[in-house]
């Protein structure tokens, strides 16, 4: 599916969330010059095509009591990373799992997983368990706990000026 200019404007228009009014899709459409039916149809198409992964409540882990947030990383040989990534992603408590480029020598790791928990000790234990998975055992790894959150919001792919 091709993402149209209208879709881009629509997604930019709801980047900060749907308005909490009785008819949110109509309100969004009013701001963009689209009908309520068009807004609903475009969102349905974007979800159906997988461009929108989900439409719903986006929670903030920290405020829900999940105070410990670790980015766990491993250096996995390239020919094994797909298998390792899929197995790791299937583990409970792994909320995101990505392969990213390495930047040696300062950053040798290519497999990233986010693990959230209510306390640091439990997250540490969980990451240690993950590191013992057969596909990850013995590989170089690191655990980067978050210390301070300076900014957290949804991505804006278009400047706000383009939204109007």
């Amino acid at each position: 599916m091709d993402v149209t200019e209208t879709d881009r404007r629509l997604l930019a228009g709801i980047a900060d969330g749907l308005p909490l009014v009785e008819r949110p899709y109509r309100r969004v459409g009013d701001d963009l010059g689209l009908s309520e039916a068009e807004v609903i149809a475009r969102l349905r198409a974007l979800i159906g095509a997988g461009m929108v992964r989900r439409l719903g409540i986006v929670v903030r882990h920290h405020e829900l009591g999940y105070r410990a947030n670790a980015m766990a990383v491993w250096d996995v040989p390239d020919d094994r990373i797909q298998e390792a990534g899929r197995l790791l992603a299937a583990e409970p408590d792994v909320t995101l799992c990505y392969r990213r480029d390495r930047r040696p020598p300062e950053w040798p790791y290519n497999l990233f997983a986010m693990v959230h928990g209510r306390c640091r000790r439990l997250v540490q234990m969980r990451v240690a368990q993950l590191s013992d998975l057969p596909s990850l055992a013995g590989l170089p790894n690191a655990v980067l706990f978050s210390r301070r959150r300076f900014k957290q919001r949804g991505a804006r792919y278009a400047p706000l000026a383009e939204v109007a």
Binding site: G17, L20, G50, R53, V58, Q82, A89, C97, G154, R156
Partner: protein, 154 residues
């Protein structure tokens, strides 16, 4: 804010509506119907959750690279400059997440923009403004789709 402070309705909203928000003219009324409450109750609960920042928004989570471009990036910031540099990074409209992490590479942020060049320009601007090199860690593959966050209410 602890989860214990969430009402029964708030918990059910968080448990059930991180995806699949009804695509009907009155989605809150549909949710209310499903949960056996009134539309105004759902709206009030969502307003409260947003006001207390338990919920950041009710909206769309877009697949990476589906529209525009984004990347993870990081910097080695001298501790005495961390507040200043973090503020400069957060001030960029392209930056949506920005965290201090416990590592020699201590500032981690995500940038998103309409295209790859715009992301690159933002990174160069951050390097120029701070005098610190940015380590760019673009996505290569995704192994887990974001389907929301499963909570254990204790």
């Amino acid at each position: 804010m602890s989860p214990a402070a969430c009402s029964e309705l708030e918990r059910r909203l968080i448990d059930c509506y991180q995806r699949g928000l009804p695509l009907v003219p009155r989605p809150w009324a549909e949710i209310a119907n499903e949960l056996g409450v009134e539309e105004v109750d759902v709206l009030a609960a969502l307003e409260r959750l947003q006001r207390d920042a338990i919920v950041s928004r009710v909206g769309a989570v877009v697949r990476p690279r589906a529209i525009g471009a984004s990347t993870l990036a990081a910097m080695v910031v001298p501790p005495e400059r961390l507040d200043e540099v973090a503020a400069m990074v957060s001030a960029r409209p392209e930056v949506n997440h920005n965290y201090e992490r416990e590592h020699r590479i201590n500032l981690w942020f995500v940038l998103a923009a309409s295209d790859h060049d715009a992301v690159e320009r933002a990174i160069r601007a951050i390097e120029q403004a701070t005098g610190i090199a940015v380590i760019v860690l673009p996505l290569v593959d995704e192994y887990r789709i974001d389907l929301g966050f499963e909570l254990s209410w204790t």
